[in-house]
């Protein structure tokens, strides 16, 4: 590992350790043992095949959600719309999954994924296009679109696409056909593999392709990008469409691989965790994978920790918030570690705020 990679990993790593240390203090204050708590947390997330499967399933939408934020961030855009993009992806993938039958898996499953992805591309693209043409701030527009998506998907799953089997009264779609279900290989869900491949693909696009060069140029210096002949508006709009696609794939994988259907209210909040993941990964698409695994592990093991050590599972949220706090405030970590203000890439959290 080169020095510069080491340095860029140091702050998130230190943040995780600090978060866990403070978490340990909180556990002690509840009269429980941090050793028991953390070991049962790890047991619950990695202890056996089921635990590992849970961790990987939890990590999958987090990877997609993290990529959705990280990719947009490279163009200097703050995508707060992961939640809405995930929801439309989930409902449209489910719709193709249950609405069509008689297709072989190798056509049906990709078709369902693509339907979800397209819905996300449109959802993200709306925010990008408005930004490019009218200057409407993507943060505001994506937040608003989250509400629209939430209500739209609620309505779809309660009305035209409602599961009318038995005497179901819940707003949910029917189960997707077997031919549209994402399989699991042992303890490894195929959706997770798809997420990892997507993360690597994002990294390749950003670092090796001309499109990635355009995205990064717009993110670093919009004026210089214009000087370089890059269509700044188009790049912003298309970046948001890509970001929407990524978040939507996370939703599609939830519908097709985990829940087996779309159900209103089940995926609430999942899209927002992408922001946490992207920050922890310092907007690096490859860093998104370990960041999502860490958070996925904590979420998968939380109930076992509660059961074994008697610690409230909300502690996990506190630890996550602490980690995020230390990542967002690297000065504190540097001071604690006596690190020199390195030339590691500074993640500017305010990027995109206040400049149109």
């Amino acid at each position: 590992m080169s020095r510069s990679t080491l340095r860029s990993v140091a702050v998130p790593l230190a943040a995780v350790i600090l978060g866990l240390l403070i978490g340990a203090l909180l556990i002690v204050s509840q009269g429980a043992s941090p050793v028991t708590a953390y070991s049962s947390l790890i047991q619950g997330g990695l202890g056996d095949g089921d635990a590992l499967l849970r961790t990987l399933q939890k990590a999958t939408p987090l990877i997609f959600g993290g990529l959705a934020v990280a990719f947009a961030f490279k163009a200097g855009l703050f995508n707060i719309g992961g939640q809405g993009q995930l929801l439309v992806g989930a409902v449209f993938a489910a719709a193709v999954g249950f609405g069509v039958d008689g297709l072989p898996t190798f056509i049906h499953l990709p078709a369902a994924l693509i339907a979800g992805a397209l819905a996300g591309a449109i959802w993200g693209g709306i925010a990008g296009a408005l930004k490019a043409t009218t200057g409407a701030h993507e943060v505001i527009v994506t937040i608003m679109l989250n509400f629209v998506a939430g209500n739209l998907t609620d309505w779809l799953s309660a009305n035209p696409w409602k599961d009318n089997s038995g005497n179901n009264i819940v707003a949910r779609t029917p189960l997707v056909e077997d031919s549209a279900t994402i399989p699991t290989l042992g303890a490894v869900p195929v959706g997770f593999l798809l997420a990892v491949i997507t993360a690597i693909g994002c990294w390749m696009i950003l670092e090796r392709s001309t499109y990635g060069f355009e995205v990064r140029s717009v993110g670093q210096n919009r004026n210089a990008a214009h000087y370089a002949g890059i269509k700044v508006g188009w790049t912003m709009a298309s970046t948001m469409a890509v970001a929407g696609t990524l978040a939507a794939l996370g939703g599609a994988v939830e519908s097709l691989g985990v829940d087996g259907r779309f159900e209103a209210g089940v995926n609430v909040g999942l899209g927002f965790e992408g922001i946490t993941i992207a920050l922890l990964a310092r907007a690096n698409p490859l860093g998104v994978i370990p960041a999502a695994l860490l958070v996925g592990l904590m979420e998968a093991g939380a109930s076992r920790m509660q059961f074994k050590a008697g610690v409230a599972p909300e502690l996990i949220d506190v630890i996550q918030a602490l980690i995020l706090f230390f990542v967002a405030a690297p000065m504190i970590v540097r001071w604690l570690l006596r690190m020199r203000q390195g030339d590691s890439e500074q993640l500017r959290l305010g990027a995109g705020w206040g400049n149109s």
Binding site: F213, S217, Q220, N221, A224, A228
Partner: protein
Amino acid sequence: MTDLLLAARNVTKQFPGVLANDDVSVELKPGRILALLGENGAGKSTLVNVLFGMYRPDGGQIIIKDEVVDLRGPDDAISRGIGMVHQHFQLVPPMRVVENIVLGAEPTKRGLVDLDEARLRVVELSTKYGLEVDPDALVEDLPVGMQQRVEILKALYRNADVLILDEPTGVLTPQEADHLLRVLRGLTETGVGIVFITHKLREVLAIADDIVVLREGRVVGTTTPDQATESGLAEMMVGRSVVLRVEKQAAQPGDVVLQVDDLKVNDDRGQLAVDGVSLQVRAGEIVGVAGVEGNGQRELVEAITGLRHASSGAMAIGGKPLTNSSTRQIAANGVGHIPEDREKHGIIAAYSLAENSVLNRYHRTPFSSRGIMHREVIYEHAQSVVEEFDVRTPSVTVAASSLSGGNKQKLIVGREFSENIKLLVAAQPTRGIDIGAIEFIHRRIVEQRDKGAAVLLVSAELDEILSLADRVAVLYDGKLVDVLDANVATRERVGLLMAGITD
């Protein structure tokens, strides 16, 4: 009577990796003008920032009015009578002149700002020192020369008896600059001492009482105007003999390459900034556009290179109409552009030199094909630009932000010159860079001309225009007031045109 108004004794200031001031000593006595001369990065700004309390020195002493002081910040320096006029004015544009002057030290009556009292004192000061300005005008409506007066008044209002001016003449016409120098001379008669930072040798000889030359953080010479010459000072600044005049043959103009007809362009605020300019630049000639900054040069250049839309008129390159074409289309027609603001347009600071070396060419072979960048080819290209254009850098993979201004500029010039160009648009190509890099870039621009390129050179430095241009076009208030052949374009004549005086 104080003997020393302001002095630095053996001041040392270290920044990570740079010794910005190394055992520097300077003295300012009442009623005298001290010129600090040196290239960018020589340590002038660091020194005055130490004297103004912005930085704490790592070693040495600061003396204000015969007393050794430990400045805790600019407030401390101001309260001890030090005033500073920064290169970038520290004014609030939508506020009135009088409000700007008293801001932070307002006279009050029953807890409220007493603007009448403030106005009286401002008028009193401006008549006393010959710095006439309308106290009720909005600062944003004032020309830069006036804004500078407001800055000086701001310092005098706070009873400054030392004035530090950082590159004060950069934004002025030659005539305005002369007036400023007279005002400064008048100020010294009341006992004020002035520290004057500049890189213009002519001004130093005209106004200074004492000259201190800095190079690489050290004082390399202390002299007075009657003992110094321009070339002697330049040699001291650079550390070797320099050629101040650009050696070039007479131009051999060919066909018209750039044709601009009745072009009208708006500025960012939607005001007409270029007002019907028509201009031709032929192959093998350099047309210099002179003018005080803010008279439409930026908008003209941006419209020609595709960065800004023209509201009417026409522009053609090599006979091909390209009005309001994209930057990419225009570049594809053989146009190289050295942008006015290299940090804003010319480079991406976080990118490596390699990425910057293909900033506007990344989409073409051999640098990429089918959407994939070819990193090895880009590295080789960057390597050859770095070598050929003498960019001082440890490698092409470091971020461009680590380069000095001169090296950044050489990288941009190298990138733009790395393929054959029909038209070169060079805006402020040597702003803020050292004499060595200036010489180098001037030579390369003339070389492009001799290879048959048409060159449009826009510069706020009249000396640069006069030494490079074959024809001089003068912009005033968005209009082209005149185009002179180089042999009749004297400093005086161009200076008057720059002020809009056509007699």
